[in-house]
Amino acid sequence: MLFYMLRRLGLAMLIVVIAVSLLFGMIHAVPGDPLSIVLGPRATPEMRADLAARLGLEKPFVVQLGAFFLNVLRGDLGADVFSNRSVATIFFSQLPFTASLIFMAIGWSAAIGIPLGCFSAIHRNSWIDKFTGIFSVGAITIPSFVVALYSLLIFAVALKWLPAIGAGQEGDIISRLRHLILPSLAVGLGWVGYLARLVRASMLEVLGENHIRTARAFGLPERTIVFHYALRLAILPTVALLGVGIGHMLSGAVFAEIVFARPGVGKLIFDSVITRNYPVVMGSVIMTTLIFVICTTAADLISAWLDPRIRENL
């Protein structure tokens, strides 16, 4: 188990290093000089000279890369071009909004997706199974920003049941939650479909296995068999995939935050792209990539730990 953990962590770190280098390298691969990109169109010659010296642009690429890495490790992701505030500070101030959005989205998907999948597996080929099948494909395929736009149109603009803009009043939990409902639904709907399909397939597979037949042959009540024996096993694959799911949800969060004018990492990056606030964009993308890699690695490790077979054999 320990060996597996170390290998997995090693791979994760390697990927992060390559990803960050790739992003860093992209600056230099792009036509136009890095100074304009970093400083934006408002740079004066003095600022450019100063930055050139600081960035050490005459030094070889590898040295620059190394310096960049050192900075990242120290938590220095550069500074906002306009306000000069640290990118790291800005990023972490916006992260909680996105995090709450994603947590709620995961909540939706677990609360709806898992029962749907379970029910479909138990009542195979019933009308609810067929409905779940079509619904899942639809939920997975329909783009999240379209869901966001349509739910905005229907529930906020037309019916006026839920708020259309912002994250709600600070300190007011109810207001916060009301403002979370539509955006998190937009972000999480895809995962609802994905989980429903996955849990259904997983449950069907588990329910067909020999040990379930043994449990039935011993007369165990159906409820015990389904929920304590089968579901426990069927859920395992979903944990590993949750890591990947978070990556999709991060992308979905960008759209949800823009459509519903919510604060968050997505909106931050988008606004920074528009204003060519390059350090904020690159720093934030690095951070979100890092978060994504952490999530997938953690998901893999947790799912390995949960299955005693893997735990023992590694």
Binding site: A19, V30, S251, F270, T288, T289
Partner: protein, 292 residues
């Protein structure tokens, strides 16, 4: 004298099984219809669009559907239906270029990874995983910042993020085949082996590749639409479905029709290709269900 009959059923050909499947699965049929409509409208766009999609007529802005404008007009008075039809062109363009370029790159890299030396395989796998470790839209935003917004930037992003998808499938297929065919190859004539393998490999890999391509098209079309919706994709006045949604969002309180018009074709296209892909997968290679 009672006689004992022998079993007579023969296995159906792939085309027969596809037709059978279509008969049983209404979703697959629906998928094909939707795909045909979309591709047809993309190809025939200049002839079937009722108006010039870029013709501005500010006096008739934001009108709801009417006899003259089946889907109404946008904020500059342009006919929405014509813009939607032109939008299918953009979507198809993106889809085809991405399959062509990403598909061939993925094919090449995948075969290299599956058939080449182990170190090359490890390197390529790490590269694939690295590209997949960027949340797609975040990556797209980073590229847009550096290269400026345009349809070409979007296509570049789409290609780069699709290559690992094709690459992985080709790689696993190649690996499976390698163990299979290699033994045959050893017995084959020396020089002929490589060519035989190459052709064999290719013909076996094309099938899953096509299935993955049809599952990838909705993803690719969605990325373009998403970026254009953010204003970071096609440049105005080009009509892409995402751009229509962008306009629709800005004027959502004035009229719902723009948002509906931009979203519905996108939904139908992505659903259509997905149903088609699933049908193809069910018929030709049910094992692939696990691969994604």
């Amino acid at each position: 004298m009672p006689n004992i009959p022998a079993s007579t059923t023969a296995a159906p050909t792939p085309w027969q099984s596809l037709i059978n499947h279509l008969g049983r699965d209404p979703m697959a049929l629906l998928g094909i219809i939707l795909v045909v409509i979309m591709v047809g409208s993309a190809i025939l766009a200049p002839w079937i669009a009722p108006h010039d999609p870029n013709k501005i007529n500010v006096r008739y802005r934001l009108k709801p559907p009417s006899a003259d404008h089946w889907l109404g007009t946008d904020q500059l008075g342009r006919d929405v239906l014509s813009r939607v039809i032109m939008g299918s062109r953009i979507a198809l363009q993106v889809a085809l270029i991405s399959i062509a370029v990403a598909g061939s790159c993925g094919l090449l890299l995948g075969m290299l990874a599956g058939y080449g030396p182990r170190w090359l395989d490890s390197v390529l796998i790490v590269l694939f995983d690295t590209v997949r470790s960027f949340p797609t839209i975040m990556f797209a935003l980073a590229v847009v910042t550096l290269m400026g917004p345009s349809l070409n930037t979007v296509i570049l992003v789409v290609i780069v993020t699709s290559i690992p998808v094709y690459g992985r499938i080709v790689r696993s297929q190649t690996q499976a085949l390698r163990n299979h065919e290699f033994i045959l190859a050893e017995r084959a004539m020396g020089a002929g082996a490589m060519r035989v393998l190459g052709l064999h490999m290719l013909s076996n890999v094309i099938g899953p590749l096509l299935i993955i391509a049809s599952m990838d098209i909705p993803v690719v079309v969605t990325i373009e639409a998403g970026l254009s919706f953010l204003g970071l994709g096609v440049r105005p006045p080009t009509a892409s479905w995402g751009a229509i949604l962008n306009d629709g969002y800005a004027f959502i309180r004035n009229t719902p029709w723009l948002v509906i018009a931009g979203g519905v074709p996108l939904i139908l296209t992505t659903l259509g290709f997905t149903f088609l892909g699933e049908a193809l997968r069910d018929v030709f290679d049910p094992k692939l269900r696990r691969e994604a």
